[in-house]
Symmetry: D2
Amino acid sequence: MKVGVVGANGYSGIELIRLLLNHPQIKLEMLISHSTKGEQLQNIYSHLSGIVEKTLEDFDADELAARTEVVFFATPAGISKDLLPECLKRGLICIDLSGDFRLKDPQEYADWYHKDPADAALLNDAVYGLSEINRRQIQGANFISNPGCYPTATLLGLAPVLKNKIIDLSSIIVDGKSGISGSGKKAIIGNLFSEVNENVKAYKLGQHQHTPEIEQTIEEISGEKHAITFTTNLIPMTRGLMCTIYATLEQGFSTRELLDHYEKFYENSPFVRIRPLGTWPSTKEVLGSNFCDIGLNVDGRTRRLTIVSVIDNVVKGAAGQAVQNLNIIKEWDEQTGLAFTPIYP
Amino acid sequence: MKVGVVGANGYSGIELIRLLLNHPQIKLEMLISHSTKGEQLQNIYSHLSGIVEKTLEDFDADELAARTEVVFFATPAGISKDLLPECLKRGLICIDLSGDFRLKDPQEYADWYHKDPADAALLNDAVYGLSEINRRQIQGANFISNPGCYPTATLLGLAPVLKNKIIDLSSIIVDGKSGISGSGKKAIIGNLFSEVNENVKAYKLGQHQHTPEIEQTIEEISGEKHAITFTTNLIPMTRGLMCTIYATLEQGFSTRELLDHYEKFYENSPFVRIRPLGTWPSTKEVLGSNFCDIGLNVDGRTRRLTIVSVIDNVVKGAAGQAVQNLNIIKEWDEQTGLAFTPIYP
Amino acid sequence: MKVGVVGANGYSGIELIRLLLNHPQIKLEMLISHSTKGEQLQNIYSHLSGIVEKTLEDFDADELAARTEVVFFATPAGISKDLLPECLKRGLICIDLSGDFRLKDPQEYADWYHKDPADAALLNDAVYGLSEINRRQIQGANFISNPGCYPTATLLGLAPVLKNKIIDLSSIIVDGKSGISGSGKKAIIGNLFSEVNENVKAYKLGQHQHTPEIEQTIEEISGEKHAITFTTNLIPMTRGLMCTIYATLEQGFSTRELLDHYEKFYENSPFVRIRPLGTWPSTKEVLGSNFCDIGLNVDGRTRRLTIVSVIDNVVKGAAGQAVQNLNIIKEWDEQTGLAFTPIYP
Amino acid sequence: MKVGVVGANGYSGIELIRLLLNHPQIKLEMLISHSTKGEQLQNIYSHLSGIVEKTLEDFDADELAARTEVVFFATPAGISKDLLPECLKRGLICIDLSGDFRLKDPQEYADWYHKDPADAALLNDAVYGLSEINRRQIQGANFISNPGCYPTATLLGLAPVLKNKIIDLSSIIVDGKSGISGSGKKAIIGNLFSEVNENVKAYKLGQHQHTPEIEQTIEEISGEKHAITFTTNLIPMTRGLMCTIYATLEQGFSTRELLDHYEKFYENSPFVRIRPLGTWPSTKEVLGSNFCDIGLNVDGRTRRLTIVSVIDNVVKGAAGQAVQNLNIIKEWDEQTGLAFTPIYP
């Protein structure tokens, strides 16, 4: 199956390329980058020397329709909103890795992204591609809005306790810690090595655009609308993301009981791994892979549950989940092309 | 004034040495390390070549009493409990950087440190050296128990809101992020570069020995006893510690109002700096210095306060605060020998 | 084909496991670790949770012979010397990743490794597994001594100019820079994050045990015996190794001419990639892959050639080349199970 | 003494500020940054909160002359060439940290910097501020061209062997390894954390602008003109620079003999420290300080000398040496304001 990647020159784009090269059903056909069209991708990214010999092309929906069946959009916010509808119209399967189609309410997009929202009807058509939770809706879909990195880790960590009055839904606090690749390949002072190295930095408190995405999905799963407290921090590593989630238990569950519940909840989800009692995951344990690893702790003294959820932000938090969603759409085995063992050390 | 450092071969020990070398009133007289006695310190730490030409000595309370007036203990938990009383008896001023004398209740020490506690009477004598909060008790004291790194950042962040029903004291959650030097110079697998680099790791959930220390001081300040939720994470940097503190507001304060309150609370505390509205500190901004920088955010949607508090764990979180306490004891200017500009980048 | 890995608990061991899991012809049958026998590997390495469910076993040559056809030794120096002959005797294909069988002269081993050498007859039987150079000898062999990490990068960089009087063989200087994983999973002070981070350290000048290995192979290829100058440096990264090689040209070649020569020399070697004129490789461009990337510069002012050669020390410098050698032995496609795209960023 | 800093917003500029704040004879009077004039420096650099409360000003030679006695130029190449002469004319002491006045031959500047050179007469007036070597010329001078970071480490490492036929001057090869702060605060892709972290990158082979600076000084010291081979590498750290220098010995000196010679050569240079036999320096051992630490190894097998020389590139390689030069000009103690103990770990 031939595919195109729009935004092939960014970090999510080249990670998609790495994953798709490993996928037995996929042929990379078109690599699109408006800003660097006409250049050989391997001249920009030497790690692809001799592996990808394609030239970057400009976006052209007719070309895409003629040459591919599936298009991934790995573009910054505000781009796919305009380009993706052109591809949908031409019958292509579209998977958007940006935030443009994640929020159902256009006003929320405007409020949190400070950009013009996509067309409301299209927002309704997009299936939110949180693979483990929305498998049924994803199957056979032709338009997927891929979740953000923080929402993926947070929602997979929370999903098993969002129903049945296990936790107080108004008590949720998420403390996120992310590697710098999450902010993309942007030449700004804040992303320089000298600024990021040997440093941890809190940013966008109360303003992060992933907040309404998390709240919307909590509402979809639980049926209740609640605001969360969400803090994000940049830590000095390239890849990897951890969300530490705090919530008050409504009932007196033990860590052991909740671990059993999580194991059962994810028993058919090969990419979610639950850590044994008394241990918690670290991001390096999922590096380069599509896993989301989760550990739990119930503090009897405060009756609070702490959930630690880790992913590789560029894989499960972006390109990997996009490929997983394509696997689900096409009813291929969910792990097709994604069975990477994490790289350690 | 001549001083001795017990545990001169550890990371807190050599940081004490760096700071004391810069102190106009101090002369380093005895450097003590049981495990490496007889060696030249500069042969172990080449960065001290030509700067410190002293030989490490074994602990000997009589020698210390004969040659020094002040002794710093930069030893692992379980050591100063036995050695420090010998120095106190001989009339020396003792400043303990370990956890041995921080908890007033011996049983709590036994429960959280899994070691035998110090003598209960001595525990009562120790003044808890959180400089900005306990200045009056520290003045003229001869026995200081220096706070832990996480408690320092947490308590300085929380102190201004612990009274007057500003926050719900039962709602406090602390998410700590620390550089690796905090775990000392221990040759264990978990501290290896290959394990720590490009990694963030949650550890000791619900079990960290700094938990009762924070709770004890919250009680001392507020008059109320509450359990907190406290999570610690190792991040890939050498120095620096951030505590992100969450609490529910009892009253509808704005961020602006609370910032003013913090500014006023710390107006005579030169080492505490409050960040302007809409900005939050990063650890690199205090690197190598004795500052504690604090930023705030009130989320109107959840009525929760988020406090971001950063220190250099080896300075304000250990050696720097110890020197600050000596300055207070002797009624020297609090910044004597500690006016380091943070190193940036 | 069933294989065993001796030393499965070390960094080369777990990297072998990552690569072998991806190999279509291989089944991991026995994982051997004397020190942690009886433990589940995934309990030591959480990144393997749900991927490798085997228990570590003790070394037993009869068991290995009964259950496997190939044994990899990923053991520290001084171990395989005794264990490997037992496996050879029982008809197993043996691939040794340690230094025990690399030097043909037992005295050189004793001089540089400060350990007792292997049996001289066995040393003669071992085929030096520098895949691109010794393919013919490797085919059908049953006993491979896998090259060291520095020798692999150095010798692949030098091989095209070792004959035909291109360079003065007595002028070779190698400046090596390596990530810390090269020193293995050893809990020593020098490998701690706090010591390695934000640091570059020269070590073992004139004493590194890879020196005679490089010189021996230079002699084998060129027919001439020369001493080299070899300096090694630890730099603050986990994986990756660069050798910068200096040599005086005997003839007035341009960079362009030498690049053409290198391209031709390696035209049938899919894992060696030559950088275009005016560009040089960086280690991240081969991360997680079996590539060796090489760039050149001729400085007309000094008539010196500089060769920059990079590998992932744990892959092409250890586990990857071992698997490549097995592919060559069995006459499978050399890239079988090794077609990893480097991970970037 | 009141001083001005031109380029106060760059990394060398803020390091100058850190050092000058610690200098008992200095008062920071004017901080100049064309691009950010009118802003408070502490609003750009939060680590200076409450420490530097000055507003950045635009360059104005008359103002500088009215308010200061000394001006430091911490500007990118091509700026001080035009601004500094205006200050010299007005009688100010000028210390230039850029490359604009280092090369005596304007054509060499044009060839290596690809910019227009400064006025040839001015080039002749500038005293090259390699403090330990040119002390006499620096005393009482009013115009100092401060050396580059690589030349400082290289020339201090080489100076003791440049005379008396100790080494073959035509055999010098320098392999430099630098932290990223050396490339300044430039928002370019190549300086991003995601590109630099877990990476080592060779750059500008045969083209680095510090090459002619090193060669010019070798000629000044030795009286002979020779080309060197000079390779530069970026390694994943913020601060620190190591030059590994290779040269063939003309005479059969032992490491021991050369170490004695170096000790004697630098006996009146408090910032140069020579490592004992069999040990070599690492960059962390000079972090934050003005030291240059040097280790040696003679390889009897190749009769080559290897010199390992490390500095903090922002201190001894830039701002620190500039302050040291001011100390020498004014005949203050050379260590005034510079007696920083390196920060470890």
